[in-house]
């Protein structure tokens, strides 16, 4: 076994040596690193466009995006640990699981690194958290479309990825609240859990169509809910009778948007979110304060709302949803 130990020793020495060379690379520019949940997903590839664009458009600041190859909170935390060691100037993070990052982010802030987060309004150890919109408003926005499309009367239902997904539940509740003003609208079997599985959403939608033959409205929760609902609606041949709205991605949903099984989707553009996170990081590093009513110069973030977060930090909200239907889905390459 001696030779095997030699191999281990060699790789040990080699990795120490490589680490020594690695530490020598430093930059004069301010360095802002965006850490996403996982690399290679369409959503975060689109976000990277925004991140890179900000660095290209602004001098004196270097931006890049990193993320684990697999969606694992431990890997994301390890990447952030190493970025703290490298003493970057600011971190812009889309947490896989906000609670697991509290400790490491507290340490980042303790070492003078600015911490900006996205989609983590429960996080305590952050300086600025960016939300594309108020979740209740987003839900109400879908409900408005559905009510309009149904002529303000009839049965409707809502979907969520899971009851544990806080934002999805907030959308469903926001929709329900909006619908309360129309006495003719009847909510049946609310908050169906699709578990982020298009097949499950399809099965559920089929069951609902069977149980409530007169149902007209569907509000999707997770981004794939509308796909499952759309397939069930298409199979039942009810494209024109039903109104399906929800979170969705243009390319994934395009076939159902074309056939009319899904009437409209909305989402927030990750490219803008990535761009705006870097704006916030830049402003924060320059000591500028963000106030309610500020215009960040990006569509949807022209009149942001700033509120206190659960910790020391602040939450910045835009109204950055993008509506997409059969006419304009092809404008979005993801």
């Amino acid at each position: 076994m001696l030779k095997n130990n030699n191999l281990l020793l060699a790789s040990f020495v080699a990795s120490v040596a490589m680490l020594g060379t690695g530490a020598a690379t430093a930059q004069d520019d301010k360095e802002v690193v965006t850490v996403v949940k996982v690399t290679g997903e369409n959503w975060f590839t689109r976000m990277e466009e925004g991140v890179t664009l900000y660095g290209e458009e602004h001098d004196g600041i270097g931006t890049r995006q990193v993320g684990p190859a697999r969606a694992d909170a431990a890997q994301q935390a390890a990447i952030i640990e190493d970025l703290i060691s490298q003493e970057v100037d600011a971190l812009a993070i889309v947490p896989m699981d906000p609670s697991t990052l509290e400790g490491v982010l507290r340490r980042a802030m303790g070492r003078g690194i600015a911490v900006i987060t996205h989609e983590a309004d429960s996080l305590q150890n952050t300086q600025l958290n960016l939300e594309a919109f108020d979740n209740a408003e987003f839900g109400a926005h879908f409900a408005e479309d559905i009510a309009e499309c149904m002529g303000h009367e009839g049965q409707w239902t809502s979907f969520v990825g899971s009851l544990g997904s806080l934002t999805h539940v907030q959308w469903a509740d926001g929709g329900e609240e909006y619908m309360a003003q129309f006495p003719e609208m009847e909510l049946v079997s609310p908050k169906n859990e699709s578990f982020n599985d298009a097949n499950r959403a399809y099965e559920l939608a089929k069951e609902i169509l069977r149980a409530y033959p007169d149902i007209k409205g569907f509000q999707g929760g997770s981004a794939i809910d509308v796909i499952g609902i759309g397939r069930a609606v298409e199979e039942a041949g009810l494209e024109d009778e039903t109104c399906v709205y929800g979170l969705g991605l243009p390319q994934d949903t395009s076939a159902y948007l074309e056939s009319g099984a899904v009437d409209g989707i909305a989402f927030w553009d990750p490219k803008d979110a990535g761009y705006v996170m870097n704006i916030l990081a830049d402003k924060f590093l320059n000591g500028e304060e963000i106030k309610t009513g500020d215009d960040l110069g990006v569509s949807g973030y022209e009149d942001v709302t700033v509120t206190d977060g659960p910790g020391e930090g602040k939450i910045v909200r835009g109204q950055a949803w993008v509506d997409v239907d059969a006419s304009n889905w092809s404008d979005y390459p993801f």
């Binding site: 076994m1 990795s15 290679g40 890997q75 060691s85 400790g103």
Partner: protein
């Protein structure tokens, strides 16, 4: 390279290192021994301890007492989980890879069931956070704990009857049985020990992240095996050294941090890990010098 760099890496090593030690024990025991359930048991330990510990001592009353009761319950879960693996493999004679794959799903399933899938937050408890994140005399405390446990394990394997029998059994189970060793009991205790190591990893994860969740570190299964194989532990059983596993865990962490520092894609990291696993496995099997011409070997026939 600053002191902080090393401290940062030091805090990242223990959880993986402990899981790798568990894998090493399982591998030494032979018969295709492996423990795939490590990280699942670690998470389950954290989850169960988090649910029960506040009922015994509230963290606000006595943070140290909370940490102790938290650790005790987590270790208890580790013992139970390890015992389940040990019973099925040792006494029921089932194949380790299938058993631990099954218990991995079982432990994960229980953790999802009791938490409903969401993370449980410990909140900011200074004592626990210090334990997880703050160095003592320049050394991260969790890293210190890891080294102490490794030392204790090394002594156990080297100087106790259990340790000696474990290696003999791993080399040749049949011979060990006919020599009068209690093979079943040794297997049982081996997997029990691996379970305890996993639950210590669970405590460290909880302290470091101030939270417990069922799917933390799902990528650790492969990496723990890689560390063990890289350390020269024989997958067929009968050989493995604790020192090498510790060094191997450190080397892998250095390499991983190096990839991050050099901004190398994280997909390449997975690829590199796979390649290294195969390379080190091959290295235990192949006598490389056979392929070197005799004249280069520097000695005649």
């Amino acid at each position: 390279m600053t002191l902080y760099n090393f401290q940062s890496m030091g805090t990242q090593i223990p959880e993986l290192g402990l899981l790798a030690l568990g894998v090493m024990l399982a591998m030494i025991s032979g018969r295709g021994g492996i423990d795939l359930s490590g990280i699942a048991l670690a998470n389950l330990s954290g989850v169960v301890a988090f649910m029960i510990a506040p009922m015994i001592i509230a963290p606000a009353v006595s943070p140290v007492g909370f940490l102790l009761s938290f650790s005790a319950i987590a270790l208890g879960v580790g013992v139970i989980g390890g015992a389940i693996n040990g019973m099925l493999i040792g006494y029921a004679g089932m194949t380790p890879i299938i058993v631990t794959l099954g218990t991995q799903l079982l432990f994960t399933g229980i953790a999802v069931g009791v938490t409903g899938g969401s993370a449980l937050q410990l909140g900011y408890i200074p004592v626990i956070d210090d334990f997880g994140n703050m160095p003592l005399w320049g050394v991260p405390r969790t890293f210190g704990v890891f080294i102490l446990i490794a030392l204790a394990l090394a002594v156990l394997l080297r100087y106790t009857r259990f340790g000696v029998h474990l290696f003999l059994m791993g080399s040749n189970a049949t011979a060990a049985r006919f020599a009068g060793m209690r093979v079943k009991s040794i297997l049982f205790r081996t997997y029990l020990l691996a379970g305890v190591l996993a639950s210590i990893a669970g405590i460290i994860i909880a302290a470091r992240t101030s939270s417990v969740k069922w799917d933390y570190g799902t990528s650790y299964v492969l990496v723990a095996i890689l560390i063990a194989v890289m350390a020269g532990v024989r997958p067929e059983g009968g050989y493995g050294r604790v020192t090498c596993v510790v060094l191997s865990a450190i080397a892998l962490q250095l390499l991983s941090s190096f990839f991050n520092f050099m901004q190398i894609s994280n997909f390449f990291r997975d690829c590199a890990w796979g390649l290294m696993l195969l390379l080190f496995l091959a290295n235990t099997r192949v006598e490389w010098s056979d392929y070197v011409p005799a004249i280069l070997r520097g000695r005649g026939e």
